[in-house]
Symmetry: C2
Subunit: 427 residues, 2 copies
Amino acid sequence: MNNTQTETATAIGQYMTNVGQRARAASRIIGRADTRAKDAALLAIAAALETAEERLIAANRLDMDAGRAAGLEPALLDRLELTVKGVKAMAQGLREVAAQTDPIGEITDLKYRPSGIQVGRMRVPLGVIGIIYESRPNVTADAAALCLKAGNAAILRGGSEALHSNQAIAACIQQGLAAAGLPADTVQVIETTDRAAVGELVRMAEYVDVLVPRGGKSLIERISREARVPVIKHLDGVCHVYIDEFADPEKAIKIAYNAKTQRYGTCNTMETLLIQERMAAGLLPVLGAMYAEAGVELRGCSQTRDLLPGIKAATEDDWYAEYLAPILAVRVVKDMDEAMQHIATYGSAHTDAIVTEDYSRARRFLREVDSSSVMVNASTRFADGGEYGLGAEIGISTDKLHARGPVGVEGLTTLKFVVLGDGQIRQ
Amino acid sequence: MNNTQTETATAIGQYMTNVGQRARAASRIIGRADTRAKDAALLAIAAALETAEERLIAANRLDMDAGRAAGLEPALLDRLELTVKGVKAMAQGLREVAAQTDPIGEITDLKYRPSGIQVGRMRVPLGVIGIIYESRPNVTADAAALCLKAGNAAILRGGSEALHSNQAIAACIQQGLAAAGLPADTVQVIETTDRAAVGELVRMAEYVDVLVPRGGKSLIERISREARVPVIKHLDGVCHVYIDEFADPEKAIKIAYNAKTQRYGTCNTMETLLIQERMAAGLLPVLGAMYAEAGVELRGCSQTRDLLPGIKAATEDDWYAEYLAPILAVRVVKDMDEAMQHIATYGSAHTDAIVTEDYSRARRFLREVDSSSVMVNASTRFADGGEYGLGAEIGISTDKLHARGPVGVEGLTTLKFVVLGDGQIRQ
């Protein structure tokens, strides 16, 4: 590094340390804020966003123009864009989070022990949450809302391509916090687009309790590698539907079609269809025609290709692939054991479904498939915080520890033990 | 590295990869083993340990002799020693774990959603647990039991000083697993004492789901630094008792005495006593005499030293200290806010207690003190899996994520979402 670079690095280090210290101090206040104040802030932010609609869209236009000039891909521009509908959806999301029950302070399982003490667990905030995300500006409002509801301070680091949008949203958040008398530092949006800021953020273990990166796999892998702070990760969604020998054919077709085609770019979209061999002859030609109609490219095993001549052969890579696109791998299997073996070998432990009317197989599949969501006779597309009733979600965790599957407000909290006594001492 | 070192490193790498692969394969079988088989194995291991009592003690004698010859500290030798009573305690511990309810497969919160699907959560094993520990051979049996009950495979790496003891216990575990028809690889005890094996273990993220290091702070810090696998950590226990202005003096004296003197070397022992200034004049002389009698050295703030002339002055370092010894820091505070501020600044978020008869202060202390265990009118020494009713414990977590406080069988499990449908698709 030359002198100027060293100076910049030092300046960013100091800036981030300051952000961290302020977040930690704010977390102590928001952690004990009462439900009424937190909900008032959420509703005030929602109102501020709606009032600022024009300003938000103007700020977003600056980002969109810069993005087009920089030659961003259409998919990225699509995620970056903030429309009138998008602003309304953000406000609505905040109101939904406000309407949820406050999880903080709930005491469960409070029981007397032989010693005479009562032992229970109280739900408490994690402290300071760092969110690192790309493009979508609505994450700024959504993440702030979930962190706030759970009594946490948040440090938000959005993509540089969304800087103007994020700052405009941040101004509304500040307005809402002030209206409710909560500290401004409860939600801080990092103002520098320097990548070094992320490097600092992921290492500030004394100021940040957990990181939630939201974005592509490469972002998440990089952050996990560098982080000294625990990370709630969301890696691949290589989701399967297995059509069992005892599936109801109508349900099987409906689910296999919906799980692939309802949306292509989402993590809970089916990427591989597994079908029991006695079902294949009847169902694959029907499904093949439907997928062809929808423009879905199929890649199959040899038995699949016997039934659907002309489709591409699936390679080993296809079984591992998260296409996020209108492509589907199809494999004919001998039985449920072979299907579960395939899922264990190639899957990403995200969401996997069986279609069957057989009680014992449903029961076994539910227990034995080691994925964050396991389904019977339902589309994998249901794996979503909203559909599960968690309210908003901050992401879907593919980790096993702490939070697994869709992560809502509860995933941003932890449990401490509380002990009530009357002078008890240990013998 | 020279050639021989390179060859050794490669050999250990291959050995550990093989251990990891076998553990992963075994985890699939033990994960779906029924309750009866797991409990039968636990009881068979208990019986095998009792039958092998003489062999275990003979093996332990080899370790003790080697330890003495190597000049191990008395405290370490004390932890290493396996007595007849110790063997009985291991067997008893296994029987207690067997008697606990099997947590695996329990479905909670199964609710209908507007879409018609039912969504709930099923408790499932984590997969493969790596335990790295020092000296105490009983950890081999305790850790194996907890992992097995929770449906996990375990890779155990004990201290080199306990190698013979651990291998003798491992033989009993193998006997019990075989008797119950469970795979031998469910519990693997690492046979090499080469440190490189630990280096491999903590990086095998594809084969190991979580690490639980048990030992001194330096071991845990080193492992946390090197690990690529999530770690359930247990760092300092700088525990406080705060005697409030509205404390019952009798309870205050009993608790403050017990929390310090019942055992000195445990993480839930009080290290700093905080006392409200109007209580100090009456209570500190009484407590001071009791501590002196017990041989506890006091180090106090200036107000404490006015009341207890002759004691050492506490330095800033004393407020941070985890003595694990008959030493106690004492500070007089103005009020509960100052006490909570002290705990937030100097504490380790392990276990903190208030002694008070004031309802509102008890309520505030419980909510606002951010520690894994927060107590009212009870000795900090109660922070323990057994006292809390968790059965055995694998450790006490000072992390906030996943498991906080004493970690029993439940801490070695996770929750997955289960979805039951009837052909539902996403609209």
